[in-house]
C-alpha cells in the first residue's frame, strides 16, 4: 500500500516515486508482480493519470519496473537496479541532512526520524494482501 499527501510541498510525482520505491524495497511487491494500472492508481489516489504515468516512467528509467504493452507494469528483479556505492549513498544522505539542517531541524529530531525510517524499511514485511488474505 502507498500513501501520498496532496498538501505536501513535495511534487506528487516525486512522492509517488518515493512511495513505490519504498514498497519495492520493503518487498511489499515482489519481482514479477504486476502493479495496478495507471487508471486504477490515479482513481484511488485522486490524482491525474499523467502523474502516475510519469512516476511509472521514472521507475522504469531507474530499472525498478518495466512496462510491457498489453501486460501492464511489473516489478523487475532488484538485482537489475544499478548498484549504489557508499560514496553515492553518502552524497544522498548528506543532501537530505543538509536540507533538514537548513530547515532548522536539530540533530536529535533527525536522528529519531532516521531511526524510525530504518526500522520501517527493514521491518518484517509481506507482499500486498491477496484475496486469500482478506478477512
Amino acid at each position: 500500500m502507498i500513501t501520498i499527501r496532496l498538501n505536501s510541498p513535495v511534487p506528487l510525482v516525486d512522492q509517488l516515486v518515493a512511495a513505490l520505491r519504498c514498497s519495492i524495497a520493503r518487498s511489499e511487491v515482489a519481482p514479477g508482480d504486476t502493479l495496478p494500472t495507471v487508471r486504477q492508481l490515479a482513481a484511488d489516489l485522486g490524482v491525474d493519470m499523467n502523474t502516475v504515468s510519469r512516476a511509472y516512467r521514472v521507475l522504469a528509467t531507474s530499472g525498478l519496473v518495466q512496462t510491457t504493452r498489453g501486460r501492464g507494469t511489473s516489478v523487475t528483479a532488484s538485482r537489475d537496479v544499478a548498484p549504489l556505492d557508499e560514496l553515492a549513498l553518502r552524497e544522498r544522505l548528506r543532501g537530505a541532512l543538509a536540507d533538514a539542517r537548513l530547515a532548522g531541524r536539530n540533530a536529535t529530531d533527525i536522528r529519531a526520524l532516521v531511526n524510525e525510517e530504518i526500522q520501517s524499511m527493514w521491518a518484517e514485511t509481506t507482499t500486498h494482501p491477496t484475496t486469500e488474505d482478506l478477512p
Binding site: P36, T37, G46, T131
Partner: protein, 271 residues
C-alpha cells in the same frame, strides 16, 4: 389490479422511511441534526402517500377503465415519489445518523492498494464468455421471432445486456478510497462491493435481455402467453433491479462507514 395500484406505490413510498427508521444511530460519528431531518422525512412520506392514495381513489371513481392517467398515476408516483423521498429526504437523514450514508471524507492524505484489480477475479474470462454466448443465443432467438412476425420494437430490449455489461466492467474497476493504515477489513469490504456490483450488473443485463427474447419467441409460438410473460418478466426485472440497487447501497454504506470509523480512530489523539 386495483389493489396493486393502491399497494405498490404505497410500499415504494414507505420504503425510504422504513430503511431510515431501521438504521442504527452511530455511537461516535452520528450528527446532532438527525432529528429534524427524520421529521421532514416522516411528514414528506405521509404527505405523498396521502396524495397518491387520494388521487388514486379519485381516478378510480372518475375513470372506468384502467387506462391513461389512471394507469400511469401509481407508476409515476412510485418512481418519482420514491426518488424524491429517497435522495432528498432519506439519504440526508441517514447520513446524519450514520457516516456510511455520507460521501467519503475528503482527506489530503491519500492511500491506495498496489494489488491490481484486473487480477482479483471479479469478472474472470469464463464469466464474460458464458454471458456473451448466452446473449448471442438471445439475439438469434429474437431475430428468428422477428422474421416470423414478432414486432421489431422488441429487439430494443436486447440493449439491456450490452448496457449492463458496460456497467459491470466499470464496477469491477471502481476506485477504492483507503485509509493510510491500509485496513484489511476495508479492502475486503470494497472487494465484496466490486464483486457484487459487477456480477449483479451482468446478471441483471442477462435477465433483462432474456425477458425480451423469450417474449419475442412467445409472440410467435404461444401468443396467448406473451402478454403475461412480458408483464411478469418485466416486474421480475424491476424487482431484481430494486433489490440489487438496495443491496449495492447497503454495501457501499458499509464500506463508507468502515472508512469513516478507521479514519476517526487514526486521527484520534493517542492516550
Amino acid at each position: 389490479m386495483t389493489w396493486f395500484d393502491r399497494l405498490f406505490p404505497t410500499l415504494m413510498l414507505l420504503m425510504p422511511l422504513a430503511i431510515a427508521l431501521g438504521s442504527k444511530r452511530h455511537e461516535r460519528l452520528s450528527r446532532e441534526d438527525a432529528g429534524p431531518l427524520m421529521r421532514r422525512l416522516v411528514w414528506a412520506t405521509l404527505g405523498l402517500v396521502a396524495l397518491t392514495i387520494g388521487v388514486q381513489f379519485l381516478l378510480e371513481a372518475t375513470h372506468e377503465s384502467r387506462t391513461g392517467l389512471r394507469a400511469a398515476w401509481p407508476v409515476v408516483m412510485a418512481v418519482i415519489g420514491f426518488q424524491f423521498l429517497w435522495f432528498k429526504r432519506a439519504v440526508p437523514a441517514l447520513g446524519a445518523r450514520d457516516p456510511g450514508w455520507r460521501p467519503p471524507q475528503e482527506s489530503p492524505v491519500r492511500s491506495a492498494s498496489l494489488a491490481p484489480r484486473h487480477l482479483d477475479g471479479a469478472l474472470p474470462p469464463w464469466i464474460w464468455v458464458t454471458s456473451w454466448m448466452t446473449f448471442a443465443l438471445m439475439v438469434a432467438a429474437t431475430a428468428w421471432a422477428i422474421s416470423e412476425g414478432a414486432p421489431l420494437l422488441i429487439a430494443l430490449g436486447l440493449a439491456f445486456f450490452p448496457g449492463f455489461a458496460f456497467g459491470a466492467r466499470s464496477s469491477a474497476f471502481e476506485p477504492a478510497t483507503l485509509d493510510p493504515g491500509g485496513s484489511l477489513e476495508l479492502q475486503a469490504s470494497y472487494r465484496e462491493l466490486r464483486l457484487a456490483k459487477a456480477r449483479g450488473f451482468l446478471m441483471l443485463g442477462l435477465v433483462g435481455s432474456a425477458v425480451f427474447a423469450v417474449t419475442a419467441v412467445f409472440v410467435v409460438v404461444k401468443p396467448e402467453y406473451a402478454v403475461h410473460w412480458g408483464a411478469y418478466g418485466g416486474a421480475t426485472v424491476g424487482l431484481l433491479g430494486g433489490l440489487f440497487g438496495l443491496m449495492g447501497s447497503l454495501m457501499r454504506a458499509r464500506a463508507n462507514r468502515l472508512l469513516a470509523e478507521t479514519l476517526d480512530e487514526q486521527s484520534a489523539p493517542h492516550a
